[in-house]
């Protein structure tokens, strides 16, 4: 049947980055541009290179968490444990650095630890048939507890050694004038974008989120896909933990608390459906930037931090309502 394949029109994938369809679907991008324009008029310091880089660096941690969260949400799952994995892996990295274990060992081992913790959630969800919300809620509580026990509730300093100095590069360094965390964020998004659009795994992620039983019946090992996305999400949480720990030269036991909700908000503002199967990784980047720009702008405009929460909630609600309307 399919042996009579002849040359034919080559199609481009609908989700191709920067294609026309991509722009049409990215109302959030337009929202971001409008937001930037408005704030630029209101405050002259806002649209300076220093401040832009500052926003990008502040956004990077949430954005990296949100990238992993996008994968999970695309499969119609949710991961509440990202903040706890961030804290535990950050603490783990800090104690390795303080013991003068070389960065080239400490960082990969921490990342691997994050992936293993994520895969545990994936295993509970796929093999144990536990709802993602419950499974990751358990992981969130459990790992925060482990972090508290491990750190005894006190920050772990990376110390004042050469190893600690080179470890600080992840949070405070620059490459070609751009902060390292921003580079890491760019690499993460490029990687996830590639994964979603150019690999079988990515296609299966969308299929699984769209219709799990149809995906199963298509001969796809859905358990493996689920474990895969939670592992990647865990790994990226560990990366976020490394950035924070490196920037502060110490690991806080309460680091990343509540970050899971910011990450979910960024994903949803970026147009990804919580029902799964529909969404775009670049939307998540924009979603994270909208939240980042908003935080920065409200600070520049001297809005009190209490009031900021209200504004943030309003913007998220607005973004989701607009997205629903266009469905």
């Amino acid at each position: 049947m399919s042996s009579n394949i002849t040359s034919s029109v080559s199609g481009t994938s609908k989700r191709h980055f920067l294609s026309k369809e991509w722009f049409i679907e990215q109302k959030s991008l337009i929202a971001l541009i409008v937001l930037i324009a408005v704030v630029s008029v209101l405050n002259e310091y806002f649209f300076t290179i220093d401040n832009i880089l500052n926003i990008l660096r502040q956004t990077s941690v949430i954005a990296i968490l949100a990238a992993g969260m996008t994968l999970v949400i695309l499969t119609a799952g949710i991961d509440l444990s990202v903040g706890s994995i961030l804290a535990l892996c950050g603490a783990f990295a800090a104690s390795m650095i303080s013991l003068e274990i070389p960065v080239l060992i400490a960082v990969p081992v921490s990342l691997l630890g994050g992936a293993v913790l994520g895969s545990m959630a994936g295993l509970i969800i796929s093999k144990g048939k536990v709802q993602a919300f419950i499974a990751t809620l358990v992981m969130m509580t459990l790992l925060r507890g482990v972090t508290m026990v491990y750190t005894d509730g006190r920050p772990i300093s990376t110390g004042f050694t050469d190893v600690a100095d080179s470890f600080a590069w992840f949070g405070t360094g620059y490459m070609f004038g751009i902060p390292v965390p921003v580079w890491l964020m760019i690499f993460v998004f490029a990687g996830i974008w590639y994964l979603l659009n150019h690999t079988r795994f990515g296609r299966y992620v969308y299929a699984l989120g769209g219709n799990e039983s149809a995906t199963k019946l298509s001969g796809i090992n859905v358990d493996r896909i689920k474990i895969g996305v939670y592992s990647i999400c865990g790994l990226l949480s560990a990366l976020a933990g490394i950035i924070i720990t490196s920037r502060l030269s110490s690991a806080q036991p309460t680091a990343g608390m509540g970050y899971e909700l910011d990450a979910i908000a960024a994903v949803v503002v970026g147009g990804t459906s919580l029902a799964g199967g529909r969404g775009y990784i670049m939307g998540t980047l924009i979603g994270a930037l909208i939240i980042g720009v908003l935080n920065n702008a409200l600070n520049l405009l001297d809005v009190s931090s209490y009031f900021q929460m209200i504004v943030k909630a309003a913007v998220i609600l607005l973004a989701v309502l607009v997205d629903n309307k266009n469905k």
Partner: protein
């Protein structure tokens, strides 16, 4: 001239890019059953949504009881006496029959508490009228699908409806349930209700309807009496061309055994053995719940096998997962497109290539070029009507969705193709195209298992026919000796003629 109770004149309705209704007309007469016919996408459901006011009309008028009306949603139209029974029942399985009937307008006393005894009493009266043998305090999920349909009708009656519209009411019913539905329809007709009957099954139209309205591409084509029509002219009106023969059978000589199933036991399969030859179409008939789909899913590795062997080309394969079955060359096209056949939110391309992505990638990277090429080839070969391969598949008509589902199976280059109800919810034109495709695969030497509840389809397409009853094979016939009566006898378990072909 009869006076219609509900009259739709020259209805126009456009959506961005499509003219869904273009001068559509429909008359409903009291005491008559009006069939509304047309291929998928002809505008039947849009017309129904216009009546109930879910869609506003661009142009035209709706006259109901000699007055021009426009309803603002199903609640209003229902209150006025027009009830629609949808293909997918709108009932809540956890609630009782009475609660379902009176949902949203429960009978209450003056303090606002529900008057249960009065509600059950009234519901019981309705059920009695429809000869349903259940108390109205029974939870709905204890009822068969046919009985649930009766509950929908009871609900319509409780509104004191004058017009009842039934959208594909027999799609999920067994033959005996269809019969009792027809008895009720006949009674309602005699009581003076105006009934609209939407169905793809032409046989039923001739059995139960008085008049026929045909729509094509949103246009009104004809209103005729059933007595003046025969099946061929009707199909011609619907598709706008003549279909010479509905089942284009081709003769082949089948040689050797391709697939053999030996004493297979599983959850709903009790000792099934059969063989499938190379280049053969094996029809599998039976009533709903006979275990046909379950058997096919065991062969496909999607359901667990307890004992017995599945042998492909002399080699015991016994797949424990769909992936294994696919790798051995068995493809299964599900009966339930929405449930486990397709991912409706993804594009035509993403759906079609889902099983075959391994062959369409270089290492772990997708080969977009190769994927697009083969998807487009199938779109052309199968004459799939879609603006592009990136179209979301949920936007296509049932027939085109089904073609994509079949193409999805074929992309894996199977040796054995299992088609489970391949023409369910598919209009006549697309049906014929699907039959031609099946014959084409057969001519190319593929072995095909065709599971179908439609006996004419099984009889018309198959070389050999198995009948299933309660998880077992209750009869086997060659195409020549089989007829509808024999198949039915085996399907209901009258095991008087277990003749081997």
């Amino acid at each position: 001239m009869k006076q219609p109770i509900l009259q739709l004149n020259n209805i126009n309705k456009s959506f961005p890019g499509v003219k869904a209704l273009d001068g559509a007309c429909l008359n409903v007469y009291p005491g008559q059953v009006m069939a509304l016919l047309g291929e998928n996408g002809a505008g039947k459901s849009t017309l129904m949504k216009v009546i109930t006011g879910i869609y506003s009309l661009d142009d035209g008028e709706i006259r109901y009881q000699d007055k021009v009306v426009s309803f603002n949603g199903p609640r209003e139209s229902q209150k006025a006496g027009i009830s629609i029974i949808h293909q997918e029942l709108n009932l809540l399985p956890e609630l009782t029959i009475a609660e379902n009937i009176f949902l949203g307008r429960e009978i209450t006393n003056r303090f606002g508490a529900i008057n249960w005894s009065l509600m059950f009493e009234q519901a019981d009266l309705l059920l009695k009228r429809l000869k349903v043998k259940h108390k109205s305090s029974t939870p709905l999920n204890e009822l068969s699908l046919g009985e649930q349909q009766m509950v929908e009708i009871a609900k319509a009656l409780s509104f004191e409806s004058k017009v009842i519209i039934m959208d594909e009411p027999t799609d999920a019913l067994t033959d005996s349930e269809v019969d009792s539905l027809f008895v009720v329809i006949n009674e309602l007709r005699d009581e003076g209700y105006g009934i609209v009957y939407i169905s793809h099954r032409l046989k039923e139209i001739f059995e139960v309807c008085d008049d026929i309205t045909v729509l094509r591409d949103g246009k009104f084509i004809a209103e005729k009496t059933v007595a003046s029509m025969d099946e061929d002219t009707l199909i011609e009106l619907m598709v706008g061309r003549r279909l010479d023969e509905q089942y284009p059978r081709i003769a082949t000589t089948h040689s050797t055994v391709c697939l053999e199933v030996k004493e297979l036991y599983a959850k709903a399969t009790h000792g099934v053995s059969f063989t499938l030859n190379h280049g053969e179409i094996l029809g599998v008939s039976g009533l709903m719940g006979a275990g046909r789909t379950e058997l096919m899913k065991v062969i496909y590795g999607a359901l667990a096998r307890e004992s017995g062997d599945i042998i492909l080309n002399g080699q015991v394969i016994n797949p424990t997962s769909s992936l294994q079955a696919l790798n051995h060359g068995i493809a299964y096209i599900s009966e339930d497109r929405k449930g486990d056949g397709l991912v409706l939110g993804l594009s035509v391309k993403d759906n079609m290539s889902l099983c075959a992505l391994k062959d369409l990638s270089k290492g772990w990277q997708l080969d977009h070029q190769a994927e697009a090429t083969s998807v487009n080839d199938f779109i052309r070969l199968f004459n799939i009507k879609t603006p592009s391969m990136d179209q979301i598949i949920g936007n296509l008509s049932g027939g085109n969705q089904q073609k994509v589902a079949i193409a999805k199976g074929l992309m894996t280059k199977p040796k054995v193709l299992i088609l489970d109800e391949p023409t369910r919810g598919v209009d006549v034109g697309a049906k014929k195209e699907i039959y031609q495709l099946i014959n084409k695969f057969k001519a190319e030497g593929m072995s095909i298992i065709l599971v179908s509840s439609e006996m004419p389809e099984v009889l018309g397409m198959s070389d050999r026919i198995l009948v299933m009853h309660q998880g077992q094979i209750s009869g086997e016939f060659s195409a020549k000796e089989a007829d509808q009566e024999k198949l039915m006898a085996c399907a209901v378990g009258k095991n008087n003629n277990e003749v081997a072909a």
